[in-house]
Structures are given as C-alpha cells and as structure tokens.
Symmetry: C2
Subunit: 219 residues, 2 copies
C-alpha cells in the first residue's frame, strides 16, 4: 500500500481556498454511480495540476487514496468538510437588516457550512420586531445581552459603510470572536478578533482586469 507517513501535511493558505471548489465538484457527482475518484480526474475537470490536487486532498483526507482507484467520494467529502471546520456549528448574528442582510438571513445554504444565523439587528424601527426566515430583528441596544445569552461567535456586518466601524465596536463589546464584514471598509478591531472581509471589489477587480486584457486582444 502507499503508506502515508505524514498524516496531515502543512496547511497551505492557497490550498484552503481551493477546498470549497473540490467540495462543490464532489457533491455534484452522482454518489450511486461514482464511488471513487482520482486526483487526476478532479484536476482535469477543474483545470488544475494533478499533483497539486493530490497534495491538497492528502492534507484533508484522513484515510488517503489508494493506487489505481483514488479516493472514496463520500469519505473525501466528509474529510474536506471536517478539515474546513464545517462540522463545528457557529452561531452568528447580522448587523444591518437591509437588502443584503435580508438576503443573507434568508439564505439556506449557510447551514451546510456550519453557520447558523440566529438573529439580526437594525436601527430602523420598521424592521425591528419583524422576522426573516423566522429570525427576529432586534434593536442594536440588545446586542450584548443577546450575543451573550445565545453564545454568538460570529457577527456579520451588513450596515452602510459609515456605520460599519460602529457595528464592529459594538460586536466586540458584545463578546463575539469573529467578524464577517461585507461593508467596503477596513475595520479596526482588537487583535484577538478575527476579521474576514467579503470584498466583492476583489472579485470585480480580477474580472475587470481579465476582461480588459481580453477585449484589448480582440481589439
């Protein structure tokens, strides 16, 4: 057998970013017809280098693959999810129940990733007391009390840019551990708070750059 000496090799940041794509690909396979899959096949399908895929999978997979057949699809899905921390369920609240906040509140898909959005906050009196996807909207004053009693770990910021730092401070004081920020602002937070920005400008910048190159070529 191809024995795995090193059980879980170094965590690469780039590999971490590729994992969700593997997961999407694997979950789209028909589990009754495709039981095993090789790194080679995945690499070809996703347009990646096969050694890279094999290394990435080795980092996440507990049991490893076997020569000639590859990895058990079901096991691999389970292992990648566990590797990404989707097994651990975290409680979250949303600050800013506007267009984007409501979309996120209503989205069912986050459960898949272990994110449980349990409540929302807003300053708008018309929103307070309403429910979206059975999740209640509270006034911001209630944040410390609710975050502590519901053991909230993650705060999701979807307020207008000018209020985002405020929301961040408020969340920090409410004892949360991490912030997922959708506002186009660089937040200042204590070092122990994890801040992850969902910056659509990055995506757009990459798209825009590629497009600009492409259109210049066509000329």
């Amino acid at each position: 057998m191809a024995v795995r000496l090193e059980k879980n090799p170094a965590v690469s940041k780039q590999a971490l970013r590729r994992m969700p794509a593997y997961l999407l690909y694997l979950e789209a396979l028909n589990p009754t017809t495709v039981v095993s899959i090789s790194a080679t096949t995945i690499a070809n399908e996703l347009g990646l280098n096969e050694v890279q895929v094999r290394k990435d999978l080795a980092a996440a997979s507990l049991s490893g693959g076997r020569p000639r057949t590859g990895f058990k699809v079901k096991e691999l899905i389970r292992d990648i999810k566990s590797y990404l921390g989707y097994d651990d369920v975290y409680n979250a609240v949303i600050i800013g129940t506007g267009k984007l906040g409501q979309a996120l509140l209503s989205y069912q898909g986050f459960a898949e990733y272990g994110l449980d959005i349990v409540a929302a906050f807003d300053t708008n009196p018309e929103l307070i007391g309403q429910q979206f996807n059975r999740k209640p909207v509270y006034p911001p004053e209630k944040m410390p009390e609710i975050c502590r009693s519901l053991k909230i770990q993650i705060g999701i910021i979807t307020v207008p840019a000018e209020y985002a730092q405020d929301a961040c401070d408020h969340l920090t004081e409410s004892g949360i551990q991490a912030i997922w920020n959708f506002a186009p602002v660089l937040l200042t937070a204590p070092p122990e708070i994890i801040v992850q920005n969902e910056n659509m400008a990055i995506s757009l910048a990459i798209l825009s750059q590629h497009l600009s190159v492409k259109l210049k070529k066509q000329h």
Copy 2:
C-alpha cells in the same frame, strides 16, 4: 531622483487581491490634510510588509513615489483604479432577481468599480415588468436581444444552483464576455468566456478555520 527603470513591473495575482484594500485605505484619508503618503505608513496601518506595499504600489503607480514624502494620494488612487480597470465601464445584467439579485441591483457601490448593471432577468411572472433601482426585469427569452442591443459584457448569475448552468449557457449564447457567478456551482463555459466565482464558502472556510484554531487555544 529615484528613477524607475521598470515602468510597470510584473502583475502578481496576490498583489491584485491587495489593491482594493489600498484603495479603501486611501479613499478613507482626508484629502485636504493628507496630500502624500508613504508605503511605510500604509504598510503599518494595514499590517503588511512595507517592501511588499512599495512593490505593489510601484506596479500600479504611473509616476512613482518620491523619497521622503512618498506617493501623492490623489494620483495614487487614480492610478490604482486605472490599474484595476475601474475606469473602463462595463455593462452587466443580472440573471435571477431574487433576494440576492435584488440586493445587487439596488447597490450603488458598483458604479465606483465601473460596473453598470442595466437590466435583470427572471422567470417569475410577478417580477417581470417590475423595476429595482430603475432597472427593469425581463423574461429570460429576451436575453439575446437585450444583451446584444445594450452591448452587455458581463452576466451576473444569482439563480438557484440548479439553474445556474442553464443561465450560463443562455448568457454565452447571448454574446456576453464574462460571468460573475454567485451560485454555489462550478460552471462549464467555453474557454473564451471569463468566469469569476464569488464563492462565499471560501471566505467562510477561512473564517471557520481561524475560529476553530482560536477556540481550541482558549479551550
């Protein structure tokens, strides 16, 4: 003067991802009080290495910085925007005018990045004919006609996952150049079509991983 031999050094993918953060930082400065800024200052504020920042800025800046004072803030903002292609205005349509689609349609911020969303599509008869942020919703059958007449370059996919490939095919046939995909699906598109995924799972995976490490430490 510190002459710049190499006018615009190699484009690094990682640098491209950092550019929007520089832009956010620079735009938050008060232009009347802060006229020039050094790479050192930016690096300290953003928690990055100063040489890295200097290299990144050198790649985007046309005129370069000067010893002792640094870069002119206004010029630098202009140069980074141009480097990222935010100057070129692209027309876009949204496929799927649900919660997320409506949020994106209503968002004013994209104009800043040169993205002009001009119309939306949906299969839901109740949505067809409505307007969001003055942008009309059409039935998908009109896609080829509208995309060609309005010279649409970008299609934004916000339909449920199971219809995303359909939407992608439809957009491709309608002559668009690039797709910005929000559905959790790996799309198959002709090689000449640029596909950029906005995969919130990546963000969440990184957050989840950090959080898991952090909470284990606290234990």
